[in-house]
């Protein structure tokens, strides 16, 4: 593709871009609110806000770059991308820095990157490539699942060792979503789900109490196993006390008094919902829902398997993270360390997810080209 086709510009999906930017903007404001009570710097000097804005800028550049590249070219190099990300995950134990009791980051001077965020998208790319070329797609039998399972298992094992069970959970649920969409036989799907559902409590029962506690600490490494329940109570109080219209921007008392843990990352939704109330939460979740529905539409209209599965996988990442994060902050799901995409503070997550949106836009605008 030497010359840029003018039809491409015409079909550029502004809706996806605008939805993403709106969510990111809300995130920046909330990160500011979550940290201002402690740093008192004002918006433009707030270190977290400025970093996140910078990452958003980097993400926008990455998005632009990925849009220009034909995604079918990516299909050819899918495994290379996957292997490169895997390599980054692999070196974390050796060069990684520790935070919150886990080794997850690679330090590169002023910034640090978190390869476990990138592997989510790389895994989707690799799975899309596998099912694109697989004869079985449309009617996937158990035997065809095995290569996909290997693609999932290798990074999962590495990330489990960090330890970061939350990310492994997301990887697994996203991989199963893609498998389902690729046409996994319902019987096999039900069987795998049943095995998983049976294995977990069975394994759990066999664990020694101290092992169970270790797993619980795995689930929420940043938190005291004893304090976790307390934090959920405080998070529920924060969300609930927002009532219909919220306490107003920068006026969340739960947030200011430090009752909410991990205010700018895992529990940022509590800060937002306290200040903006049900109305604000409705709008925010509405934006996510619109993003997800638009993504599904892009997948539906895609002209090839790779594009469709790729888009579907990215949608799955966003969807599951939103549902699980809101579920855990509002106290209906256990606390696992999962962030709110585009909204929580975190450079690797933000830039990777923006590039992923770029992929969706890419798939969408090239649906007329062939």
């Amino acid at each position: 593709m030497r010359q840029f086709d003018r039809r491409l510009a015409y079909h550029f999906d502004w809706l996806l871009l605008v939805l993403t930017l709106l969510i990111i903007g809300g995130g920046l404001a909330t990160i500011f609110s979550a940290s201002e009570a402690r740093v008192h710097t004002g918006f433009v000097h707030n270190p977290l806000v400025m970093r996140q804005a910078l990452y958003a800028g980097v993400g926008l550049l990455g998005m632009g770059a990925i849009v220009l590249l034909d995604y079918r070219r990516l299909e050819r190099y899918a495994y290379v991308v996957y292997a490169a990300t895997l390599l980054l995950v692999l070196v974390v134990p050796f060069v990684g820095s520790v935070g919150g009791g886990a080794r997850r980051w690679i330090n590169l001077g002023p910034i640090s990157i978190q390869p476990s965020e990138m592997i989510k998208v790389s895994l989707v790319i690799a799975l899309a490539r596998y099912f694109h070329r697989s004869r079985a797609t449309g009617d996937v039998r158990f035997i065809d699942v095995i290569p996909a399972f290997v693609l999932l298992a290798v990074p999962s094992a590495l990330i489990l060792a960090q330890p970061d069970l939350g990310t492994v959970g997301i990887l697994a649920i996203v991989a199963f979503s893609v498998l389902f969409c690729a046409g996994l036989r319902i019987r096999v799907f039900v069987m795998l789900a049943a095995v998983a559902a049976l294995a977990v409590p069975l394994l759990w029962g066999h664990l020694k109490p101290y092992q169970q506690q270790r797993v619980q600490t795995f689930l929420s490494p940043e938190m005291d196993p004893l304090g976790a329940g307390y934090h959920v109570i405080q998070s529920k109080i924060a969300i609930g006390s927002g009532e219909l219209w919220g306490k107003g921007f920068l006026r969340g008392t739960q947030n200011k008094l430090n009752f909410i843990p991990e205010q700018h990352t895992d529990f940022i939704f509590s800060v937002f919902a306290e200040e903006w109330g049900f109305a604000g939460a409705f709008v925010l979740l509405g934006l996510y829902a619109a993003l997800v529905l638009r993504g599904l539409m892009v997948a539906y209209r895609a002209k090839d398997r790779f594009g469709a599965l790729l888009t579907f996988g990215v949608v799955a990442i966003v969807f599951w993270q939103v549902v699980i994060n809101v579920g855990m902050t509002s106290g209906i799901l256990p606390v696992v360390g999962i962030t709110l995409p585009f909204f929580s503070y975190g450079g690797s997550s933000l830039t990777t997810m923006m590039v992923a949106v770029g992929l969706m836009i890419n798939v969408n605008m090239r649906r007329f080209l062939f």
Binding site: L226, S241, G242, E243, L296, V326
Partner: protein, 649 residues
């Protein structure tokens, strides 16, 4: 499905569209559920949560786990916990913190220290977390707080376990101490909160993971001034595991008492396992001072003390071994064959070598002596000659076989390995070649050679047990509070030094005569009914020689160290020990041997003439009877000689 006209392009099968429909339905349903949940929280019960947030009254109280008890080998408690009443403030509940602090200071008096500084130090923590203002309140002050409760919102008295060392300084260096966790420690290890206690030294530090236990906690609802209304949920604490040491408290106390006002160290080992039965280092410190929170002045006094009470002289102190090193020399010489038991050397009171005379401690000389006589009477000239025949590198090799020149690997921090010089060592350290004259100093345990008391006790144990070097251990078992075993420490063989039986018997025979013959230098360690073997040593701490009476006038750092290393019974050895009287300015035979005798007497249950000791030992079963039969020299050697045959093949 894939049209060949379209090349590699693969369309989605129809099944995909159907499944997308399903995914769409699922997404709509889950988003819908989320909305319902938020509606329930924010709109249906929003006002409840609003009022909860306005008077946020749910607090998390940590219930600190009780630290594991430490027992001696017979199950006697040597480190315990007792309740401590701490004054605690929750800034959020106090509302007006400066006013509450002022009221407290008025009530408790200035002795409790600057409370506002303590609060200021905790500024960056959430306002609803406890700040401990004063630890271990006395009864009078507790009553004052309780009666003025209503004037002191946010203030409460909490009961928590406090570490206590009922025997004060006893075995302080081995037991170690606890202190508040430092910011660095909190970064390195997970799960510690500000103000938590952590083992800082000794067994408390090394066995931290086992001793610590798991904290419990309560979620409580409190009233406007922070008093507990009800407990919402509770997690029980899990107390730490108990530690059973190999230390025998009676023997330890005997050794501590025997040191009287000497500085230095005593190490007593079971030669059959490497277990430490007693370990003393003097001067010592009181770990209780650390448990209550050491004051700056106290800390400075301990650190600035020239006698270094915080250092364990048994494992960190390095001293020239003096004549006790002749045991190593004799073993090397007999093994290498540079002498036979019958080789005699004439001692005329000195040896002229190079351009100077190396003197024997006995200026009139010992006449013609063989190795037996040379050990018994501690003849220097004999060993000067032996040293020359062996050469420094062979001496170093045998020293290493005994485990000298390297840390023993005991589970204590900052262990010293001492120095065993060799020609390579000197070239590396000073960039100079080894001078033959230096070998002579080495041969009598002076010059560059340094060892720790623990290493010398281990040398004695190796001679006594048939040539096995054990890793010294002081923990026998880790057990839960119900008495079940978590971990059992096993004896660990570091190496078989591989000495000939004849060599060991020769040396043991000589060491017996050191104590039991008329000519011996160690007669002060003689015990009725038990044959003790040992070796005296008097190590020069400074270049200046001089008789021992004049040394009393010298400054402390220049005075000689007195050594005595011993094992008993000679026929079937059970225990070995090393005594070091640091800078005592006396001979090993006069200063150190009597200390060894008292320890040995207690172990074997023999009255040693000392009135107090007679009373102490009355009615006691001799310790050696409790520990079972000794393993004979031959029995210990058997399995290892078998191995040697394998290597030969």
């Amino acid at each position: 499905m894939t049209s060949p006209l379209l090349g590699g392009r693969r369309e989605m099968p129809n099944e995909f569209r159907r499944r997308l429909g399903f995914a769409l339905a699922l997404a709509v349903a889950l988003f819908g559920l989320t909305f319902v949940r938020l509606w329930h929280l924010q709109v249906s019960s929003g006002d409840e949560y609003r009022s909860l947030s306005e008077h946020n009254r749910i607090r998390l109280k940590r219930v600190r786990a009780t630290r594991g008890t430490i027992f001696d080998r017979n199950g006697d408690i040597i480190v315990d916990n007792r309740p401590s009443f701490d004054l605690v403030l929750v800034p959020e509940d106090a509302h007006d913190v400066p006013a509450v602090i002022a009221a407290l200071t008025r009530l408790l008096g200035p002795e409790v220290g600057d409370l506002s500084a303590t609060v200021a130090a905790a500024r960056n923590r959430p306002a609803f977390e406890d700040v401990v203002l004063v630890r271990d309140l006395d009864w009078e002050r507790i009553v004052k707080i309780e009666t003025h409760q209503f004037e002191l919102p946010g203030v409460s008295v909490q009961v928590g376990p406090r570490r206590t060392y009922p025997f004060g300084q006893m075995a302080a260096h081995l037991l170690g101490y606890v202190g508040e966790v430092s910011p660095q420690e909190r970064e390195q290890r997970r799960g510690y909160h500000l103000g938590d206690l952590i083992g800082k030294a000794g067994a408390e530090r090394y066995w931290e993971e086992y001793l610590r236990g798991v904290d419990g906690g309560q979620q409580v609802e409190v009233d406007a001034v922070g008093r507990k209304l009800r407990v919402l949920s509770e997690v029980d604490e899990t107390p730490g595991n108990g530690l059973v040491l190999t230390i025998d408290r009676d023997l330890q106390q005997t050794a501590e008492a025997a040191m009287s006002d000497h500085d230095g160290a005593v190490v007593v080992l079971d030669v059959r396992t490497g277990a430490i039965l007693a370990m003393v280092s003097r001067p010592a410190f009181d770990p209780n001072v650390f448990a209550r929170g050491i004051r700056l002045a106290e800390w400075k006094a301990l650190v600035d003390d020239k006698k270094r009470p915080l250092n364990s002289k048994a494992v960190q102190g390095t001293y020239p071994p003096g004549s006790t090193y002749k045991v190593v020399m004799a073993a090397a010489a007999l093994e290498e064959g540079v002498i036979t038991p019958f080789t005699t050397i004439f001692c005329g009171g000195g040896l002229f070598f190079g351009n100077r005379t190396f003197r024997c401690w006995r200026s009139q000389g010992h006449g013609s002596v063989n190795v037996h006589e040379a050990l018994v009477r501690s003849c220097d000239v004999f060993f000067y000659q032996v040293g020359q025949r062996l050469g420094v590198d062979t001496i170093a090799e045998y020293s290493h076989r005994f485990g000298l020149g390297a840390a023993t690997g005991i589970a204590l921090e900052h262990e010293s390995g001492g120095i065993i010089p060799s020609s390579a060592w000197k070239r590396q350290r000073f960039g100079e070649p080894w001078y033959p004259g230096e070998t002579l100093s080495i041969a009598i345990g002076q010059g560059y050679v340094t060892t720790t008391p623990l290493q010398m006790a281990s040398v004695m144990a190796t001679i006594a047990n048939g040539g096995i070097v054990y890793r010294p251990k002081f923990v026998k078992r880790v057990e839960r509070t119900d008495g079940t075993t978590v971990l059992e420490e096993q004896p660990e063989v570091v190496r078989d030094a591989g000495f000939k039986k004849s060599t060991l018997l020769q040396i043991r025979d000589a060491l017996s005569d050191v104590v039991n013959s008329k000519r011996g230098t160690g007669s002060n360690a003689r015990l009725p009914g038990i044959e003790v073997g040992g070796k005296t040593g008097t190590a020069q701490a400074s270049r200046a020689g001089g008789d021992k009476t004049s040394q009393k006038k010298w400054s402390r750092e220049k005075r000689d160290h007195a050594w005595f290393i011993a094992f008993a019974p000679v026929e079937s050895p059970e225990i070995a020990l090393a005594v070091l009287a640091e800078h005592s300015g006396e001979h090993g035979g006069t200063a150190a041997a009597p200390i060894a005798r008292k320890v040995l007497a207690r172990y074997f249950g023999i009255p040693d003439g000392d009135e107090a000791a007679l009373q102490r030992t009355a009615g006691f079963v001799p310790l050696h009877d409790q520990y079972g039969a000794a393993i004979s020299l031959a029995a210990l050697r058997e399995p290892y000689s078998g191995d040697d045959h394998d290597h030969d093949r």
